[in-house]
Each structure stands twice: as C-alpha cells, then as structure tokens.
C-alpha cells in the first residue's frame, strides 16, 4: 500500500535473507532502507500496456521489488515492437505480450506476484481491475484509454502515473493524487481522431519510451516510499533531440468534471468521447472511404486506368515502393491538390492504409469523386503483388 513517511508504520511483509541480499543497494540507501523495501514488497502497481512504456516499467518495478504487479494488454509481440519494447525478445514474436512478460519478469525477480489481464481495458472492466491496486501507471498508446485510465483513477482515488511519447519527445506527470490535478485538467478534451499520428504512423525513437517509462517507474517508487518531490502538479517535458528536460505547472482545474466539480460520477463511452471508431493507434480507419485491393489496383495500373498517389514521406519511399506513382507526402497534399487530375481515377496509398484514408477524405472534402484508398497499403501490396520488397 502507498504510505507516506509522516504516517505511522503499518504491518509490512518481512524480507527473507535472499531478499535482503538481493535488495542490498536499496537497503543501504538512507531514504529506502528496510522499511522502504518492505513498502515496495507490500505495494500493488497496475501497468496499463506492456509495450514501449510498459517494458521499462515492468522490468524496473520488478527488479526494485514491487511485490504485486498487474499487467493489462491483449496484444501479440510483433517484430516491429522489438526496436523499443525491451520486455520482449526475438523468440517471443507471435506470442502474447503477457506470456512474454511473465517469462521475463520471473527471470528478473521471481518474488514478484504478477497478475495479467488479457483484455482491452473498457469502461465496463476498468473499475473492477483498478480497485485492487495502489497505483496505476498509464502506458497506453491512444487517447480513449488515457481518458478512461484518468477517470477511473479519479473515481477510485488512485494515483495515475502518466507518460506519453511521440517521435523524439515525451511527457510525464502524476495525476489524481489526493489534492492534485488530473489528466483532464491538463487536456480537457482530446484532439479529433487522426490529427495526432500514432507511433505506428509517425515513428518513435526506440530509447524514448525507455527514458519516459523509467521516469514513470521512478515516480511510482517515490509514491510508494513517500520520498522526494512527486511530479504531481507538474508536467515534465522531455526533448531527446534538444537534450532538454523541462517542467511546467499543471493546476487543478476547479471546473474539471472529473476532479473539480466531480460531475463525472461514472465511466463514459470513451470511443465516442474521442470521436474514434476503434481503439489502437494504427487502426483508425473511417467509414465511407472507398477501397481498392492491391490485386485490383495492380491490374488497373497495368492498363493505365488509374494513378497511384503515394502519400508517404520521402524517406519511406526508399524502403519499399509502388510502381509508377506520384509522390505527395500527406502534409503537402493540401498545397498540391490543385495539381491533381479530377478526371482520372486516383488511388491513394501509404504504408498500411491509415494515412491514405485521411488523404482520401481530404480529396473528397475538396470535391474529388474518383478517389480510392489502397487497402492495407504497401504491406498488403507486398503480400499480394510484389513479395520482393521488404515490409517496415
């Protein structure tokens, strides 16, 4: 349980001789000591996500001797995860992240009691899962789950150790402490779907989640031990390219429906709140977007019936390419719309079909009627048309 140094010591579990030796470097730290290590052993920490942020969190909190760790994830280890998700290894590709995590955590510290939840976190199950924990750590990859985690933590009075990342930059804070602000005080509403690219779309420096997740682990341990100055009330901004760390103030908003007025008394529909049809960073496909399969597109392209517009970034074109394309990065599409032919069938293409779906919507909004999205992007093109090229 979370205790603070000014509170009287409570019944804490004893340490075995093996544990005393294992945690020696903690025990000789004046601010941790035997009592602090026993607090860690008594603590129950829930990690949401076993991905980029969840990896260092699970490894360091296990190694530090947090007695009970819960892990929520329903994903499978993919080869593209391994560049940053150090909890999983090459031999784990294709298996459940929870299975992989259990194996690795047991090797790091067999004293950790691990509970896994192989489910998507939802408004229906979140309170039931969270209520058994002292601290929740948010390592998810999408806005609906971040608001869900926040609201559930506020409703239950459980601190939420927050971290999020994009490309080379990260953010971390501690929300929903007794008198502190919450995520909604910082961001009252989410951005519209598609405005902020996910890591799967925009890329992420592999060590960045290591850095941010390790900061979250540090904040978690400080909360358990009741030492130091928590990030509650502050937002840490990390810029790896500028090599800068900066903190700004996060004030508790008296009008916040979650932690201020407390008009939010139950969990809501977070997909609807965030305006997105699906959970998951790489899966945001919209309705009413005409699609064409790679096989059909290849056949029509060979007959000269369609033009393919590749909306990927220039550096991606070097990795794998479509034949005979017009390359227009998504960010420049608006500026080049006037140059695109309205009297031709245009097929918009990208890596997996997410960005090109946005491009189709953009062209539809500009009055184009003969536009299609290439289903599955270059990944499916490689599967079905041109297996000589690498996927990325």
């Amino acid at each position: 349980m979370v205790t603070h140094s000014q509170q009287p010591p409570r019944d804490l579990p004893a340490l075995t001789h093996e544990e005393i030796l294992r945690y020696s470097r903690h025990l000789i730290l004046p601010d941790v000591g035997v009592e602090g290590q026993r607090k860690l052993k008594a603590a129950r920490v829930l990690l949401i996500g076993a991905g980029g942020l969840g990896s260092p969190l699970a490894l360091y909190l296990s190694a530090a001797g947090v007695g009970h760790i819960g892990l929520v994830d329903f994903d499978i280890v993919d080869l593209t995860n391994l560049q940053r998700q150090v909890l999983h290894g090459t031999s784990d590709v294709g298996t459940s992240k929870l299975v992989s995590a259990r194996k690795r955590i047991a090797e790091v510290n067999p004293h950790v009691e691990l509970t896994t939840y192989d489910v998507p976190l939802t408004s229906e199950n979140a309170l039931g899962i969270f209520k058994d924990y002292d601290i929740v750590v948010d390592g998810t990859d999408n806005f609906p789950t971040r608001y869900l985690v926040n609201d559930a933590c506020v409703l239950l009075g459980i601190p939420n150790v927050y971290g999020s990342i994009y490309r080379f930059e990260g953010q971390s804070s501690v929300f929903a402490t007794k008198d502190g602000p919450c995520y909604r005080c910082l961001y009252p509403e989410p951005p519209p779907p598609g405005l902020v690219p996910s890591c799967a779309e925009g890329g992420v420096l592999g060590v960045l989640p290591g850095l941010v997740g390790t900061l979250q682990a540090t904040e978690t341990i400080k909360l358990i031990l009741g030492i130091g100055e928590s990030l509650a009330g502050r937002l840490l901004l990390i810029d790896t390219l500028g090599a800068t760390f900066r903190t700004v103030k996060v004030r508790k908003d008296p009008n916040c429906p979650a932690c201020g007025t407390r008009t939010l008394t139950t969990l809501i529909d977070y997909e609807q709140f965030c305006g997105s049809p699906h959970v998951g960073g790489d899966q945001k496909m919209s309705f009413n977007i005409p699609e064409i399969t790679p096989i059909d597109a290849a056949a029509r392209l060979a007959k000269g019936e369609i033009d393919i517009i590749d909306v990927r970034e220039p550096h991606e074109l070097e990795i794998a390419h479509y034949p005979k394309v017009t390359a227009v990065p998504l960010g420049l599409l608006a500026a080049q719309i006037a140059a695109l032919p309205r009297d031709r069938d245009l097929v918009l293409a990208c890596r997996t079909g997410a960005r090109s779906a946005k491009a189709v919507q953009q062209l539809q909004a500009a009055g184009f009627t003969r536009v299609w999205n290439l289903a599955g992007g270059i990944h499916r093109w490689i599967d079905e048309v041109d297996p000589t090229q690498p996927k990325y």
Binding site: D141, N142, F143, I165, Y166, E169, G170, Y187, V248, R251
Partner: protein, 90 residues
C-alpha cells in the same frame, strides 16, 4: 513585447524552427504574429474563432495560460511561450 515561442517537433516542421522570436502584448497577439508568418501553423494553434483548443496547452513561462486569462494573458519582455499539444504514444 518580444518573446520566444517554443514549438514541439510535431509543429516545428510547419515553421521550419523549434524556436521563434515573436511579438505581442498578449499570448493571443503572439499566436497571431506567428500565424501570419507561418499560415500552415495557424490551424494547429487556434480554432476558426481564434480561440485555443482544449488539446493544445500554452505555457507562458511555466504557467498554463488557461488560468491566466487564456489568449488575453499579458506578455512581458523576454517571456517564453511553450506549446504542448496532447500526444498519446506509448
């Protein structure tokens, strides 16, 4: 008042810089100044009615402008305005 605007990477590409010198008596005027110079940035900083978005937080030095009058917050010479949009990667 001259001030320094700091942009995150996701917005810096629209202004070709992470750090810009801007001028104005209020935060709203600083945003108007940079929007006039980099029109592609404008819709990422303020909505069609010229107001800030709930998912893009502006910090004047280390204070959230929402608690200091929003875009009407007064700027002093040498202030730093940092734009912190919501990100969700993990």
């Amino acid at each position: 008042m001259p001030a320094t605007l700091f942009l995150p990477a996701i917005l810096a590409k629209l202004a070709d810089a992470k750090q810009l010198e801007v001028t104005g008596a209020t935060v709203g005027e600083l945003v108007a100044d940079v929007s006039a110079r980099y029109p592609a940035l404008e819709p990422r900083l303020r909505d069609a009615s010229g107001e800030p978005y709930p998912y893009v937080t502006f910090y004047l030095n280390d204070e959230d402008i929402r608690f200091h009058g929003g875009f009407a917050a007064t700027v002093n010479e040498g202030d730093e305005l940092t734009v912190v949009p919501a990100i969700a990667g993990g």
